[in-house]
């Protein structure tokens, strides 16, 4: 076992994705404000040890595909008052990403004060 990913990357640059909206117990690296939101794959970053497993002393293998995902700030924040073209990049593991055509509820809006 080499620890390399079991499958090829599902997504490619330019694909739209929705962030899985769930709060499972355990050590999760996905911030709550981005769950359910839609972004675009900016680049594929490579395959890395899964921190959700490594956090408990396991080897985190097989590695997981990591992507940089770009979001519009106005999409994330209900009352975003910055430039309308502002974006936010987050690096997300593939198992938190869903194809945009998958059925899902409307994304929740985060509260900004």
């Amino acid at each position: 076992m080499t620890g390399e990913p079991l499958t090829d990357p599902i997504f490619k640059t330019g694909d739209q994705v929705r962030i899985h909206d769930s709060n499972p117990p355990g050590h999760r690296r996905t911030p709550d404000y981005i769950k359910g939101k839609i972004g675009v794959i900016e680049r594929y970053c490579g395959a890395f040890v899964n921190p959700e497993e490594s956090a408990y002393g396991f080897d985190g293998l097989p590695k997981k595909h990591l992507y940089r995902v770009r979001f519009d700030q106005t999409h994330i924040w209900d009352k975003y008052d910055g430039n309308a073209s502002d974006t936010l990049d987050l690096e997300m593991y593939e198992h938190w990403l869903r194809p945009i055509n998958a059925a899902a509820p409307e994304p929740r809006k985060a509260i900004v004060q």
């Binding site: 911030p31 404000y33 490594s54 956090a55 509260i111």
Partner: protein, 102 residues
């Protein structure tokens, strides 16, 4: 489960962005945490997990304080040192006059 650290976008006070001196005890703690990683006892992911699973009241004490709690938890989890042993050593150092103001 949303952890105590997961506060992005929530109401909060102003950010304090001035530099501040790192206390000697926190430098030592950093060295201990670094040694635990470089000697293969743990990973940054385990450290983050320990930090992010602290009770709210402990987490809110401050950056250095939450690291000290997390490192002690991890030392105990890894069977390297118990919290009782750490507290005993602190008491010894205080008794020897090396404990500083507190």
């Amino acid at each position: 489960m949303v952890g105590v650290h997961d506060i992005g976008g929530l109401p909060a006070g102003p950010m304090i962005i001035e530099d501040h001196e790192m206390e000697p005890w926190f430098k030592l703690l950093n060295a201990i945490a670094g040694a635990m990683r470089s000697r293969g006892h743990t990973t940054i992911h385990e450290m983050r997990r320990c930090l992010e699973s602290l009770p709210q009241g402990v987490y809110d004490r401050g950056y250095a304080e939450r690291w000290s709690e997390a490192v002690c938890d991890l030392l105990e989890e890894k069977g390297l040192l118990t919290k009782a042993e750490v507290l005993e050593r602190i008491a010894e150092m205080r008794a020897a006059g090396g404990g500083g103001a507190s």
